[in-house]
Amino acid sequence: MSLNLEHQFRVQDLNARYTEAIDEDRLESWPDFFVPDGKYLINTAENVAQNLPLGFMYATSQAMLRDRIKALRQANIYEAQRYRHVLAAPRLVEDNGGALSARTSFMVARIMHTGETILFATGIYEDRVVLDGGKALFVEKKVIIDSRQIDTLLAIPL
């Protein structure tokens, strides 16, 4: 696979805007980073190693992502908190013109409204991205968390 720096940058920029939207509580725009039949899941490394598919979140369409945000805003109860994502540079593992696969390590801190801050989750994004003209969108985002443990609850998507 020849190195295409512009493609690597596009994936990096997509994830930077994606995590910024989450961290700044612009959750309503979270689904817009996906194509309409985009897939999103959060699973654990332990489950993946054993070929077990059922993890914390599972969406097979952009519409399901909108439902999740609706539920968070209107139904679910959780103490006010924010995330801060820090990402490594993405590594392109596949580049078929406009269809890319990339792996990006992440760390997410959770900051409670009290100020209490913990390292909440670490892991890797396994992304499939489509470049459609000027736009980059997720066809699939798999969030594989290194730990099997989540502290208290997982309200906001990663």
């Binding site: 077990l52 059922l54 914390f56 539920a71 208290t152």
Partner: protein, 410 residues
């Protein structure tokens, strides 16, 4: 020193009052580990399906004690303390695997899959020097072997000397509801843990609290998965230790909620993809929801087609690990498997209906911290611990405390 001498006196004879110091007293916690978990109770260790072949092991917990659960060469299940007879080191620090024996890394003492000491390295010394004296009996300090029973694919263990056989302990009005779910060979689907910022008892109370379900968890109610006005019931085992809260799938379109103007009845809330809660009556009896708990720390969950076992691991006064294991059956059709995957969004720490429990138990832990001598008021449904038709009841919570106080002697 008699630990019990440090324990405060329960301020009330009634089961309707629970003093908040129960969540914040270290002496009490230590006594609980001994009198409850290592006492006359049965603790859930793992699913039989987690020991898939002969000569496999799975690590688990028994209260806060690490244990090794094994399936030996003949297929029989054993469990023993995860502690070497020599210096007390952990014998097994992998979560699961295949093994014909267990060897301690520290000095290579070996054990069979029953937990029996089989080898002491250099026991006779080398060249006539060193080694253990001939009258040493390190076997006397061997890790305790649990009494193990498997019921409906669930592995339970006990160290109790006066505890009934497992099926009796579960209760004649509880076992049929375990069997209706655990009727076929299980297929594991996934597992994870939720770290709750609260005492272990707060989670068990939350599980037995059928009253809160559709009030805290708005998602549940709005989509008519569980309204307290649905047909169902609350079953409590004799003595109060175990419970079942269940409701039927068919929803009677009741206006009780809307009329009561409760927070959880928001009629304007609609899902774009209602398939997330699409389900079938896989057990054929019309029961769409069943939450079943076994004292001290086990839950069997059926939420439509979302099936799971949950076990608690106390991690100190105000921290509990809740271990979830989700499953289906070997003969699941692809359609049923997909439904279980979709419904996985409902449960767990990220679950549309479960996520609040993680927060709620923490709120009680923090809210009650400054008032150790104040008390919970547990009067919904009266004062008793008997089964009843209404789920607007805290009978199962009172049942938990009846069992707790009896075992602890408080």
């Amino acid at each position: 020193m008699n630990i019990a001498a440090n324990i405060k006196t329960w301020p009330s004879d009634s089961l309707t009052r629970v003093p908040y110091w129960v969540y914040a007293d270290q002496s009490l916690y230590d006594l609980e580990m001994e009198r409850i978990f290592r006492g006359d109770t049965w603790s859930f260790l793992c699913l039989e399906a987690e020991l898939p072949r002969p000569n496999t092991f799975r690590r688990s917990h028994f209260g806060d004690m690490s244990v090794v659960v094994t399936r030996d060469a003949e297929g029989k299940v054993h469990a023993f303390e995860n502690r070497c007879a020599h210096r007390g080191a952990l014998l097994c620090h992998k979560d699961r695997g295949d093994a014909k024996e267990i060897a301690c890394v520290y000095h290579n003492w070996t054990y069979d899959l029953c937990g029996k000491l089989t080898g002491v390295a250099f026991r006779r010394g080398i060249g006539g020097k060193g080694g253990m004296p001939p009258d040493s009996h390190p076997e006397e300090h061997a890790p305790r072997q649990l009494r193990v029973e498997v019921f409906a694919g669930l592995v339970f263990g006990t160290l109790g000397k006066n505890v009934a056989p497992l099926e009796t302990y579960l209760g004649a009005n509880i076992t049929p509801n375990i069997k209706r779910v655990m009727a076929k060979p299980v297929k594991l689907l996934g597992g994870y843990s939720q770290i709750l910022p609260s005492n272990w008892k707060l989670y068990m109370e939350n599980t037995k609290d059928s009253y809160h379900a559709s009030l805290l968890h708005m998602f549940f109610t709005t989509f008519r998965l569980n309204r307290l006005s649905q047909k169902g019931g609350l079953i409590v085992s004799e003595g109060g230790a175990n419970h079942i809260s269940y409701s039927m799938s068919a929803d009677v379109a009741g206006k009780e909620y809307e009329q009561a103007k409760m927070r959880s009845a928001n009629e304007g809330f609609a899902l774009e993809v209602p398939e997330v809660i699409k389900s079938i009556d896989e057990f054929g009896d019309g029961i769409g929801l069943q939450i079943l708990s076994v004292f001290p720390g086990f839950v069997l969950q059926q939420i439509r087609n979302s099936l799971a076992v949950r076990r608690i691991v106390p991690m100190g006064l105000d921290k509990t690990e809740l271990v979830w294991t989700m499953f289906g059956f070997e003969d699941d059709t692809p359609e049923l498997h997909d439904m279980r995957m979709m419904q996985s969004n409902l449960i767990g720490p990220g679950g549309f209906i479960s996520m609040e429990d993680g927060a709620a138990t923490g709120f009680v832990q923090r809210g009650s911290r400054g008032a150790p001598n104040e008390m919970s008021v547990v009067e919904m449904g009266g004062q008793g611990i008997g089964s009843e038709e209404s789920r607007v009841s805290e009978a199962a919570v009172r049942g938990f405390w009846a069992t707790y106080r009896r075992l602890m002697g408080v």
